[in-house]
Amino acid sequence: MTKIKWLFIASMIIMLLAMPLFAACPGEETTPPPEYTLYVGGGMSLTGAYAEDSAAVLAAIEDYVQYVNETKMMAPWRSETFPDNVTLEVLWRDDELNVEKALTIYEELKAKGMLVYRTSGSSTALALMDRLNEDRMGSPSALVSGPYLLSPPKTCLTIYPIYTDDLAAIADWFLENWTEDRAPRVAYLTADYPPGKSILIPEMDAYLESIGYELVGTQLVPLVPTSPPTTQLLWLKENKVDLALCWMINPGSQPTIKEAVRLGMGTNLDYKITFGLAAPSHLPVFVPAMGAELSEGVVVAGSYPPLDDLATPGVAFCNDLQEMYHPNDMVTHVMYEAGLVEAMVQVEALRLAMLEMPVEDLTPVDVLDFGFFKITDLDTGGLSSTPLSYSSGNVEGVDEVRVDQALNGKIVKQGTWPLRHLYAQ
């Protein structure tokens, strides 16, 4: 026993002593002169509520970087090429959705020479927002809910609409299909979690009322419910709600909608109600998991096209990349598409910046000013609802919201609606 104890203590001490060296060394390295390496990637949350999303994003970024390195092409449908003497490399760390870790990871990767960055979730984006802004580090993220990133303009770039804009589009869509004389009754049914609550802003209420809705109230469900949210759903029924606006992640939305169907609530069921979800409950994950009967009528805004929609060039590209690099281990999560868009934005920013500045002199500010803010109409092959454009002051890349509905187990695109820019001040 004592031997084990001493061995263990000795190893602890060695580990502690070695750690600063371990940590300090890689940061000092610089890229060798003739061939340049630029980094893409950033923080990932492989642990926590966004784990499955982050894993898919990571896979996409890695595939895309490999594609650009091998072909020097930006995408099959684009003619621009990536400079020959520059190699891309993915740098990432698991921040466990912990903001303190996210901060030290950011500093580490920045020290390694990252010129672009990604944040893994709303909370980490918020925590890093000030740092990113201070360093003028451009940072696209798939999961930025925050209107606060927009005013005053910061350097976090969203690649899909902010949740309040998603829900506004759903409200617009619903109103277009509304046939009754009375004003439709709307309520929020959202996750009891900061991004879930981020949709509960006065601006949202005001917009809904201004276009003719009658606002009923709010119900919260746990982020990952441990029992079906019967209470909340019954409350909707009791208050005769026609449209429920929700922000939920998949593990929250599936049991919720399943319970709603059991209670006879749905577009085609006894009690007519439509569930409109903002992006994280991506329909392409939701519909196959739930099946035709349970998913019927659910509307999602700001989602990505399904992975079997091969007519869309972006989706075909996703499939090709996976076929090429890991055919036996296909990622079927729709966030693969989001990851691909993120990677495209990061790499495009680097490419654009290199047109203005020699690669060896690039700094994050240059990449932001000459890269990210010069991106106009970046064609994502139909992955995002519209081509992406960023500029100083416009960090919400899309200008329209795609709305899809699950009908008979299929995802049917309902069209796109303009952004309403409903942000909390």
Partner: protein, 296 residues
Amino acid sequence: MSFFLQLVVSGFALGMVYALIAIGFVIILKCSKAFNIAQGHFVMIGGYLGFTFLVTFHLPVWASLILAVAAAIILGLLIERFTLRPLVGQPVLAVIMMTIALATVLEGLATLVWGGEYKTYHGVLPTITLKIGELSIPPETLIGVMVSIAVVTILMLFFRYTRSGLAMMATAEDEQVVQSAGIKVTTVYALSWVIACVVGVIGGIILGGVSGVMIPLANVGLKAFAVVLLGGVNSIGGAIVAGIMVGVLENIAAGYLDPLLPSGGGLASVFPFIVMIIVLIFRPHGLFGLVEIERI
């Protein structure tokens, strides 16, 4: 009125889940004086085991259940032998910290084995929807009630009629007496962990069938502690009664008070904790717990 009744019924379903978790907790506490913070994690593991056997291996429900219980037994034995046994005689904090550390390791192992993805097995478990007038009773209530009754009955029989069960009850009363009677206390400890693990895993399979499985599912354990406290930490019957009480009250509170609160309420997620504080202030030994007399 039907709104109220529905709240009660779905609260009942929720309470059954709480009660199942609480029972596992109480058994360990009763027999080995350890507070097991990781009880919620047994539930999560149970959910994943259910997914593995039912979906990945396409096994029938009965076979999955047997295999999951077998896995739970092994897990319980391993945990007791390698983490709790070295701590016999250590202060309360050490044991609690051990179970917390255990919880994080279990979480890590689950991530390693099953990944961070959300796993569902909708429709694999039999679903029976009972409708009485306007009232619709959720299938998980029925399954929960049936399983809980079955588990409690088996435990009662076990404690009353088997040698090991009697030994466990005796250990709860007085360790030294048991030791002098020639019963190995370590066996009793191991057994209590095994039972807690099995109960947790069964709860997890039910819960997984209803809500799907994900790592944060383990947090249900934290809420179940309110039930444990309300029922009295050493009363199995108390855990069941308190489970139902907390479940129903939580639902009613959320149903009627939430709309009155700013920012959407969300009382359901905090309600058990409010119950916890109230119980601790006014009745620390719970409804059915025993009061200990301190002496010097």
